[in-house]
């Protein structure tokens, strides 16, 4: 398995050789920031194209096919359009909160990017409570949505954001519990540690029954957490026009739009980390030749590839199922997912205690 940390340490040492330590740290931070933004933008563009093509395939259409070969430049054109659109200023709104809300949403997903295991040695920060940090920062997003709905001074946005608040607070429980289930198996909260634990076998196979249950619950809760169909009640266009971001225009709307796709990536990325080994290639105990060949595929490709495949499942949900109603959504969480999750946690602990996992 190629360790990519040699690149980062080479960059670090070459900086340190030409400038003082504090300056090199600052420059590195800036570089990482720029890099993150770039990855962020590129991923968002890719996801927009990816979803539109997939959705078109589900709906017997072609999807974007005019701008560039196979419509590849369509999402660039879309983003360019979004950037040059006028931001309409509204009267009778809370201007400060109205402007702040999209940034809060986008900051939440940016922060989560920092701890994702991009590749072997390519993690931005790896500290002992990495996964905990990830859950904590991703809850900031709901604040942005609530503020957006409240500050717009519009009845539709208010209903949309309150729905969103109820939904996110409820489903964070499920996400948290299924993460705890997997943390039990890993024995660590550090993102790097969780990946290393899966070096011989991915957790979904290692933890078998409870891991699969946790995975299913995580995917359901993750879809709800990202406000995507069939849980897209906060922005149910047939009920609330566009929900909490009805009043936003131009790039402010674009931020919500981007954050939705990036959150999709984050949810699939975390699922990859917890259940499918993060950047870890597919290893099967006993098949050394196979494992060796798998190691030749770069770890970055493994991580992003797995995340995109899992996103496919979430996109598939959206274009197949009708939307739930708010009371059904909440009873699904509180009456079904939460009890199952709690029982599943106990089951996982039993399996670990009696060493029944692979």
């Amino acid at each position: 398995m190629q360790d990519l940390s040699f690149i980062t340490s080479w960059i670090d040492s070459s900086f340190r050789s030409i400038m003082p330590g504090w300056l090199s740290t600052t420059v590195e931070c800036l570089l990482i920031g720029v890099g993150l933004l770039l990855v962020y933008a590129l991923l968002a563009l890719f996801y927009i194209y990816y979803e539109r093509k997939l959705c078109a395939a589900f709906q017997c259409r072609l999807g974007p096919n005019r701008v560039g070969p196979w419509g590849l430049l369509q999402s660039f054109a879309d983003m360019f359009k979004m950037l040059i659109k006028e931001i309409i200023h509204l009267d009778h709104i809370d201007r400060f909160l109205f402007a702040l809300a999209p940034y809060l949403v986008i900051i939440a997903s940016m922060l989560a990017f920092a701890v994702l295991p991009w590749g072997n040695g390519l993690q931005i920060i790896d500290f002992n409570i990495g996964i905990f940090f990830l859950i904590a920062v991703s809850s900031i997003g709901v604040l942005g949505i609530l503020l957006a709905g409240w500050s717009s001074n519009n009845k539709f946005t208010l209903i949309g954001s309150l729905r969103s608040g109820a939904q996110m607070v409820s489903y964070e429980l499920s996400i948290g519990l299924s993460v705890i289930t997997m943390v039990c198996l890993a024995g660590t909260m550090s993102v790097g540690g969780i990946v290393e634990e899966q070096a011989d076998l991915w957790f979904i196979f290692k933890g078998h029954i409870p891991a699969i249950i946790a995975f299913v619950i995580y995917m359901i809760a993750g879809t709800a957490e990202t406000n995507r169909g069939p849980f897209d009640l906060p922005e149910a266009e047939s009920e609330l026009t566009a929900g909490y971001h009805t009043e936003y225009s131009g790039m402010h709307f674009g931020f919500f739009y981007l954050a939705e796709y990036l959150n999709l990536f984050i949810v699939s990325g975390v699922a990859t980390l917890l259940f499918f080994g993060g950047w870890m290639p597919l290893h099967i105990p006993g098949l050394d030749g196979f494992n060796h060949i798998m190691d030749y595929i770069p770890s970055v490709v493994w991580f992003i590839g797995k995340a995109i495949l899992l996103s496919f499942v979430i996109i598939w949900f959206k274009w197949t199922f009708p939307r739930l109603r708010i009371d059904q959504l909440l009873s699904l969480e509180w009456k079904y997912l939460l009890p199952i999750n709690l029982v599943n946690l106990v089951l996982m602990v039993l399996i670990i205690v009696y060493d029944l996992h692979f």
């Binding site: 959705c55 589900f58 709906q59 017997c60 259409r61 009845k155 539709f156 209903i159 729905r163 169909g229 069939p230 897209d232 009640l233 149910a236 266009e237 047939s238 009920e239 609330l240 026009t241 274009w319 197949t320 199922f321 009708p322 939307r323 739930l324 109603r325 708010i326 009371d327 059904q328």
Partner: protein, 554 residues
Amino acid sequence: MTNSLNDILITMANITEKISKLFPQAVIEGDTTPVVTIPNAQWHDLALALRDDADIRMDYLITITGMDWTDRLGAIYYLMSTTYNKIIGVKVIAEGDRQQPWIYSAADVWKVATLFEREVFDFLGIIFVNNPDMRRLFLSIDWVGYPLRKDYDQNPELNPVSTESERQTDFTDVYTLDENGKIVKNEVRVFEKDDFVVNIGPQHPATHGVLRFRTAVDGETVKKIDVYCGYIHRGIEKLCENLTYPQTLHFMDRMDYFSAHNYHHALCMLYEKAAGIEISRRAQVIRVMMDELSRIASHCLFIGTYCMDLGATTMLFYALRVREQILDIMEKTCGARMTFNYECIGGVMQDLAPDFRADVKALLEVLPRNIKEYNDVFTGNVIARNRMEGVGVLSREDAIAYAVTGPSGRASGWACDMRKLQPYSIYAELDFEEVTATEGDSMARFKCRMREIEESAKILAQLVDNIPDGEYCVKVPKVIKLPAGQWFQVTEGCRGAFGLYLESDGSTKPYRLHIAPPCLPQAAVVDHLTRGQKIADLITIGGSLDYIVPDIDR
């Protein structure tokens, strides 16, 4: 069948006899669809007797036609008995002068009358005393004059196109009689004082057009809905009064644009009946086939948009696939994909396209596969079932009281298919089932439409190989003049019973053409169905009723 037994026992003569026994002042004219003329003072008692008398049971109010005979104003109520399947008209002459004509309201007898009376008030200024909600229905509250009165001043300066926001009011009027017999106007709040009222519409993705629901909500729960129509009102009835009979046909495809063929068919039949024109068998078969093709196309669009309302966007494309195929068939024959203007007095405008038969057969081949696919993808889905089952339950009694016809009424167990009840054209010879269900919820309404597609396909299969030769349009006079008289007729559109009332003074233009669309009562029932439900259910219920806004507004 109890119905056929009753048909033998109770004839129209029995009913008119009973009425004249109970109300000796009533004047009864005509025999198949008699019109009873009653003084206003006895009208309310007659209304109650008509609804409740065991031998009459006129429980379904089809429409109220407001009339201006220049010397007096009045209203004609068309009623139908769901037990004995008989139609009767009641003519009430308004009391008072032209400044303040009034009639007793029948809103407490037939629930749907509340809205129908508002329409008459809006257009003719007849006040319905004791109606709980006597506002204008379609026109804005500042409108000057009553358009359907014959002395209406059409000067555009009286009602200029406003660039200001429309004036709104939170109050409605209730007119009552005081002890001296004078009319007193009282103002009543539409909503309670501190209700949280959300405007759903007129520009809203789920209202299927420019319909506006002023919705009082308590959290996610709907407390009351005030239906606000008129945003696409074009005054078709008024326009018809100034046009010749063939010219009036063109409006029929601009109301319920999915029932364009059915509505054209209905109006052509009415004119042919009045003029005594016999049309060829070929024309009849073509008309019926076009009606049924429209029905399939319309229900397909319903399935698609309804699923989209519920969040299942993909189903729209699956349903539109079939609809496209039908539109292609229509395009080849009629030259249009919407607003077909195909049926004309005497038959149809042009002959069928050469590959019509082959195209219909191809359609009939793919239909069962598609219906199976819809059921696999959507109907059986657990989320879809949770969203629709038990949501917006309309009982049979309420369906009749609110005059909810068509598939929505049949889903409540009311067999109200006019093709069966009042067979017209060649429907009596055709073999098809009337689709009914008993649940009355949104799921039943959805499934009824799904099954009606199959029944329409059955009709098409019977006719596609039996299109007789002959002329597609018989010779009719260049200038069509109808004899003086009045006619009423109900047919089945894609969304329910479509009533037409025609009064002719013997000229080339209708004296009064009243259109009773199926969608107006369906919009009226939304408030009743959604109270206490969630906002999301409002979308489910509204979608399942499948109203078309231009049909409500006309």
